[in-house]
Every structure is written in C-alpha cells, then in structure tokens.
C-alpha cells in the first residue's frame, strides 16, 4: 500500500507564539524616568533634559515653552544664572558638560525676536498682591497669572527688575532683554505699580481687595562696617554704585579703586570700575583667593580684564589717602586670623561690598512678622508666620541668587494657589537620580563643546557690551544634541532593536515602548544597551 504521509512537514506560521517564554524570567525590565542631575540641581526646577530634547530637533518654540513652565526669564537666566546644572551634568565624565546656559540664552533671545507669548489662565476672580518687582516677585506674578489670578506688583523703584537691573552690570545683563521679558509678563495682565513703596501690608491688601500676599522685597540695603577714617578716601557701598551705573549718574569710580569683599557683587563693581576708566582696580578679601564666594568664571574674567585680587588682607584704617591693611593668616576654619603685620595701599576710593541686608521697615507695623538673623522665616509652603502672607527671594533664608529667587516665585505661586483652594498639596516625590554608572555612554557621539565666542579682553574693558557671545541657530541645536538625556527615554530604539525575543513593542513616535512580558526572557540586553539608563531590572516575585 502506498505511503500517503507527506515527505515534508509544514508548520503553521505563528506556532511558537503558544510558547510563553516569559515564564523563564527571574528578573523583568521596567521602563522608568530617572531624574537627570541637571534637573535635580536647578534652583528654578527647570526640566532641562526635556527642553533640550525639543531644541535638539530645532523645535525651539516647544523648547522655550517647556522652560516657561518653570521659569519666565530664559533670556535673563541664559546670561546671569550660575548654571549649577552644567557642574552636575553627567557628560562631564565623558568629555565636557553640555552648554545648557548658552542654549537657554539662545532660546530666550529667539522668543524675544519672534515675540512668542504665553497666555494667562482662565480668570478665577481672586486677587493677589506682590511686594517687590524683582525676579522672585515677577516670577510669582507670572505663575499666578497662569493660574488665572489677578496680580498687582508694588515696586518702590522707578523700574521693575530688582537686583537683576540694579545689581548686575549691563555687560552681563543688557537692559533690552530684561525689559522684553518683563513686558511679556505685563502683557499677560500683570499690573506693576512703580514708585510705590508699601509701608502697611495689611492696609494695602485691604485697599486692593487682595486675598493673599507675596513678599519679595529682596536684600537691597548695604551691609557696611565702620572703618576708622580721616575721611581722606571716600567710602561708598557697592549697592549704590551699581544702582548709580544703571541710572547713569556719576559714581565717582576713578583713580585707584579698591573694592572690599570677595562676592559676586564685589567682582561686578570691580569690572564696572575697569570699564569706567579707573587707573587701577584692586579687590581686597579677608580670606584666600580660592575661598572667595564669587563665581570662578567671573573671577577669571575679572583677572583677564586686569582686575587685581589682594587676598588675606583686612582693611583696618583709612589714613592720608591710603588704606592700612593687616595681613591675615589662613586657618582650617572659614575665618582667617589677624597676624599683627600691617602694610599700606594707595586708594582714591573704597567700595564696600560685604553683603546686603533686608530692609526692616516693611515689618514695623506688623507684630506677627519680624526678621530673625536678618531674614524672614517661612515654612515649607513658603508662608510666613502670618496666614496668607508668603515670602521668597533674597529676604528669606536661602542662597541669594537670581535662579533661587525665580524658583521661590514659582513655588510660592503654586502654594498660594493651593492655599486659595483651601489645602496645601504635598510636593510629588522626586525620581531616583540617574548616575553615570547607570548609563551606557558608548553610544554617545564625541563632540567638543561649542565655546561661546568671548569678546576679546580689550573690547570688554572699554564698554558695557555683552561679554559672552551668542550661539546661532546651527550650533544651538548642535549643543543641545550633546545632551545625553540621562534617565529619560529619547526613543533611540535600542531596546526595541536588541531584544532577541522580539519582546519589545514600539508604540510610535513620542509614545515610547512597552514590554511583551509573555515572551521577555529577562536577559537584560535592553537595560544594558539603553544609553540613558531608562530601563531597570527588577526581581520577579515568586
């Protein structure tokens, strides 16, 4: 009898799908968003990784809008922020950090050039008053407008901007950029009352029918020390000098200028003096040069411009057109000790830049509020001891810089909004910070950092032109592309590609991926080959 069995066996396509190889697994991969170190360290809470992601593709407006969620001043921050994000950047361990600050500045300038705008939220009918139109106050006003509240800002000076206008020289912060960003906030319906000093918070609040108050008057009065003097050398304060430069009045900075103090304000005054034609500019500091609180980039630029730093000296007396300096001995602690040895230094003018205090007059009529250690204490919700009165910026206990102030403004706005709705919300838990070791950096292309073209030293010394140059359209995207997107999927398709079991589903552009756990054998190739550390292996529970 003839054998009717077929010679070859045919197998049905898809037959192996019955075999659920996921049962082999002892560990499962999971997608997660880890917190990149730049975002973690940003005092304004910017989602840097996310806006760089947009900028990489030339989507500058989307990138700008992403910054604006947290910070309404990209053009200002792109100039004056001390960019702790770049110090924290994981790319440092590969080559050099991403030039986050310069990309932010580029985006901020693009927004001004193209007149990009933000819309206020749906009106809530609630009114809030803000005292002080510095960065904290204006940031708070902006975010409150996004929530739809009505905002009035009271400012004692003739122009808004606070210390960014009056404390940072034009070579670092050109006025037209600052004005443009403030105008954009005003265009959203924020009302700024200039030349209006608030003496009585409670009365003003009632007069304007406000439900909450945000105080951000800053720390604008100079901290001055008494130096024994025969009045042969005029003694000025850094705050008045910088204010005078802004208002174009004669500051008297000429001849041999000596600036006392080692902070950023001191360096600002010294560099301004150099630009205004001083014969010599010396910065006298009590401690060592390495321990100066000023930002190293600014110290370096000042040195390049011919500013001389005289460390470990204390000014003890002003006599016959000279300063008497006592040499200081460095010590392990932060305070150097006097040596008993003296020397003299010629001086035409001395400028004290030894710090600034919060103006206490605002609290004279309020029993609930008072300064402690020179600052106004607030709770974790940014609220002071007085219900409904919030505060932030330089007047509250924290590091005093522009970025912190903007962060305070944002946080206060959110907390005020929550308070108006009757209950403070807890801040959401932060994701795990992504460490360099969690990444597979083999995949990142090598590229040198785009160095910002700096104007040559000579040009810098003769005017208030901006010192740091701009990125242009081509190199801004290039710089953004150096971002490694630490801890956040940028859809490189590696997991989708390297899975030997075809157990990763690609969901399409912008939608990321999903695991087919029915078939994933848990080999961890996806997690190992993920460049940015956005996949974690977790033990299977048996």
């Amino acid at each position: 009898m003839k054998n009717t069995k077929p010679y070859a066996i045919t197998l049905d396509v898809g037959g192996s799908l019955l075999n659920k190889t996921g049962s082999w697994r002892t560990e499962r991969p999971v997608y997660l968003d880890r917190l990149p170190p730049c975002n973690e360290t940003c005092p304004a809470g910017e989602n840097i990784q996310q806006w760089l992601y947009h900028a990489e593709n030339g989507e500058y407006k989307e990138a700008w809008l992403e910054i604006m969620k947290n910070n309404p001043f990209p053009a200002v921050m792109g100039r004056v922020c001390y960019h702790t994000c770049e110090t924290a950047c994981n790319r440092v361990q590969l080559d050099e950090p991403v030039g986050i600050n310069s990309v932010e500045r580029f985006l901020g300038d693009q927004a001004i050039i193209n007149v990009w705008k933000d819309e206020p939220g749906k009106p809530t009918g609630k009114k809030i008053m803000i005292v002080g139109a510095g960065m904290a106050g204006l940031a708070c006003a902006y975010h409150l407008r996004l929530f739809g509240h009505e905002v009035t800002v009271f400012e004692s000076s003739s122009k808004p901007g606070g210390m960014v206008r009056y404390g940072i020289p034009k070579y670092r912060m050109p006025n037209e950029k600052l004005n443009a960003e403030i105008h954009r906030i005003q265009d959203m319906g924020v009302n700024i009352e200039l030349n209006t000093k608030v003496d009585d918070i409670v009365a003003t609040k009632e007069k304007y029918g406000c439900e909450a108050v945000f105080l951000s008057t800053g720390a604008q009065s100079a901290k001055l020390i008494d130096i024994k003097s025969d009045q042969s050398v005029p003694s000025l304060s850094a705050v008045e000098i910088l204010r005078g430069i802004e208002d174009d009045v004669d500051t008297g900075l000429r001849g041999h200028v000596v600036v006392y103090g080692g902070g950023n304000t001191s360096i600002d005054v010294a560099r301004s003096a150099k630009r205004m034609g001083a014969q010599s500019v010396k910065v006298v500091v009590r401690g060592s040069q390495e321990n100066m609180p000023a930002h190293y980039e600014e110290i370096n630029e000042a040195l390049e411009e011919g500013v001389e730093i005289v460390p470990l000296r204390s000014i003890t007396e002003i006599k016959k057109g000279h300063l008497v300096l006592e040499k200081m001995i460095p010590s392990d602690g932060d305070r150097p000790s006097p040596s008993g040895e003296f020397e003299t230094m010629e001086a035409s003018v001395i400028v004290q830049a030894l710090g600034q205090n919060v103006d206490e007059s605002l609290f004279e009529n309020l029993s609930e509020l008072s300064l402690e250690d020179g600052v106004l204490d607030v709770d974790i919700n940014m609220m002071s001891a007085m219900e409904g009165v919030f505060a932030g910026g330089d007047m509250t206990p924290s590091e005093r810089n522009v970025t912190v102030a903007i962060g305070h403004g944002k946080k206060a706005a959110r907390k005020i909004d929550q308070w108006l709705q009757g209950e403070f919300q807890k801040d959401s838990k932060k994701n795990e910070i992504v460490d360099y070791s969690m990444m597979n950096t083999w995949y990142y292309s090598d590229a040198p950092r785009t160095i910002r073209p700096t104007l040559d030293v000579v040009r810098r010394q003769t005017g208030f032109a901006e010192v740091v140059g701009d990125l242009d359209e081509t190199n801004a995207a290039f710089e953004a592309r150096r971002c490694m997107s630490c801890g956040n999927c940028f859809e490189c398709d590696n997991c989708y590609g390297v899975c030997p079991d075809n157990a990763v589903i690609k969901l399409g552009s912008g939608k990321r991926f999903e695991f087919k756990y029915d078939y994933c054998k848990g080999c961890a190739l996806c997690a190992t080959e993920c460049p940015c550390g956005a996949i974690k292996m977790e033990p299977e529970l048996i």
């Binding site: 197998l11 037959g15 190889t21 592309r481 150096r482 030997p500 552009s509 087919k516 080999c523 961890a524």
Partner: protein
C-alpha cells in the same frame, strides 16, 4: 565604510534608531513595520546572539526584496530553537535542510525559481559556523564556484553549541569547549588552526563577501541590503556571541560583539570579486583582555601570559592587515 556616519547627532548611527536621522539613514530594525521574520516564543537561551543576528539579517533582506524571500536553514541551534515540532517562529517561507547541505538546497531553490520564471524571489541559505565551515563546506564551495544566485549567511558563534559546545573550525585559539578542555601545557583550543571562511569565500572571487557584527546594526543592515542588490553567490558572516557556550552573562551579548570589534579580534570588512573594498574602523580601541574577561571559556587564557599575548597578536595582526584604525 558601509554606511553613512552622521556626526554630532547625539548618538549618530550608533543606536538602533535616531529621530534626528534622515529617513534613508534609519535602520529597518527601528521601524514599526519590520517583518519580525523570527518572532517571539522561540526557545533560544536568554540573550542569544544568533536569534538577534538572524532577525537583523532576515528582516533587512525581507525589506530589500519586498518580502519575496525564501530561506533554507542548515541543522543547528538556529533550526532547533526556532522549529520544535509543531511550532515555528519563522514568519517567512523557510525550509529545513540537512546539517551539511543548506548551500546545495539554496542552489536548488534558486534554480527552481528560475525555471518557474520567478527570479524576483530571492534565496538565502543560512546556518551556524559548524554547518558552514565544517560540515557544509563542500556544498558551500560548490555554490560559490558555480556562482549560484544565493546569499549564504553564516551565524558565527564559534562552536557546536546546540550539541553541547564542541569545537568547530571557527573556534578561536585558547577557547574552552567540551572537546578542547583547559588542561595540559596548552589548554583550550589550538592556536594556528581553523579556517577563515570569509577570506576563503573571497578566494572564489564571488561578487560579494562581508563580515558583520550584531553590535554594529547600521553596518550589518547596509551589508545585507547591498548583498541583496547583487546577483550571484554572496557570503556574509555575522558575529553572534553565545552566552551558553562562551560562559558569558546574557546581558553581555551585544557588548561582547562590540569588544570583539573594538579589540580587532573580529575584523569587519567587505570584499567584491576577490578584493577587499571597505573595512569598518575601530572606534575606541581596547586591549583583548577587555573582550576575554567576561567569558568563562577564556578564564585560563587570562592567567596564561603566553596565550594572552598570542590572542593580542591575532588582534594586532588583524588591525595591521585590514587597516582597522583611522589614519
């Protein structure tokens, strides 16, 4: 270079996909509609390099031929883990041959297609290094000599893994296998033995020969695509690490392929009509120790300075011979 290098695009062409690349520079593997020729549910070990390499290659060939493709598969791991009766993980026309005659079956299928006037249907024959360099070598050489219109793909995992990790003529010197145990004065597989089949294929002066590695996807896809654009006998050998046979962690499969390329141990090149026409350059050169360390099959080599320098010498010779470093 077999593919375009795009500089400064965050990850360039190093990752599987990159939204910043132009459409023509993207990989088949990064697309949502890749054919998944080798689908889920197969029984390969965790982190199998061969399963990965086979999907990479066949998906690319499917795209290049507009899905008109037949694959003939020699006996071996790839056949065993994909088609345990009555299952199959292949989603393409696929036929199982004997261990040693995949090339001959490929020749026959190509001839049948020609007779039927269906020369638009292209043929691939594939197998592991055992079925290619040892058992199927006569059929393979014949296919080359006759210049039959078949692309032969060898998935090189350097031994007979399916049958219990025995030495093949592709097993490297020093490696431990079940038949080359690390005992005696010269432990592991002999040095100065074995065959370099890509160079032997080139000696047949066939139209196209290439070596590829699963860590260089853009390079691999470009080579398969190019092979499918040519008629006649073609040969591609793909380096596919084997966690089981090599004693390496499943998660290290792609990394080991990378280290083999970066150390110079596995030179990637293309040859046309007997001449070498391109080499893939080393990106960041590493010593061979980096490649050997994650593999238990070389544990004794790392403790044996003579053997270690012999392995380094092989890598150095490859670098010189193929010009693997950028000028």
């Amino acid at each position: 270079m077999a593919h375009q290098q795009v500089k400064f695009y965050q990850t360039g062409t190093l990752t599987v996909g990159n939204r910043l690349l132009d459409a023509e520079n993207r990989t088949v593997q990064g697309t949502m509609d890749r054919s998944n020729s080798l689908d889920s549910g197969h029984r390969a070990c965790q982190g199998c390099g061969e399963a990965l390499g086979a999907r990479y290659a066949i998906d690319t060939a499917m795209r290049a031929t507009d899905n008109k493709l037949i694959a003939c598969n020699a006996t071996g791991c790839l056949e065993v883990f994909t088609t345990p009766y009555p299952e199959t993980s292949w989603t393409i026309p696929w036929i199982h041959s004997l261990f040693g005659n995949a090339a001959a079956i490929g020749t026959g299928v190509a001839a049948a297609m020609k007779v039927k006037g269906r020369e638009d249907v292209r043929v691939i024959a594939q197998g592991g290094d055992g079925g290619t360099t040892d058992i199927g070598f006569g059929c393979l050489s014949g296919m080359f000599e006759r210049n039959d219109d078949v692309l032969y793909i060898c998935y090189d995992n350097q031994g007979y893994m399916n049958t219990g990790v025995q030495r093949s003529s592709a097993t490297p010197g020093g490696a431990r296998t079940a038949t080359t145990m690390p005992v005696g004065p010269e432990p592991g597989a002999d040095f100065d033995k074995g065959k370099n089949v890509p160079l032997i294929a080139m000696a047949h002066e066939i139209p196209y020969v290439a070596t590829a590695s699963i860590d260089r996807l853009h390079d691999l896809e470009a080579k398969v695509k190019k092979a499918m654009s040519i008629r006649g006998a073609r040969y591609i050998q793909i380096f596919v690490p084997c966690p089981l046979g090599w004693g390496s962690a499943p998660a290290q499969t792609v990394n080991l392929a990378r280290l083999a390329v970066e150390s110079g141990i596995y030179p990637l090149f293309e040859g046309e009509n007997g001449e070498i026409t391109s080499t893939t350059k080393i990106r960041r050169k590493v010593p061979v120790e980096d490649y050997l360390k994650p593999q238990r099959r070389f544990a004794h080599v790392l403790k044996n300075p003579a053997q270690l320098s012999a392995v380094q010498e092989i890598a150095d010779r490859n670098i010189r011979k193929f010009g693997l470093l950028e000028e």
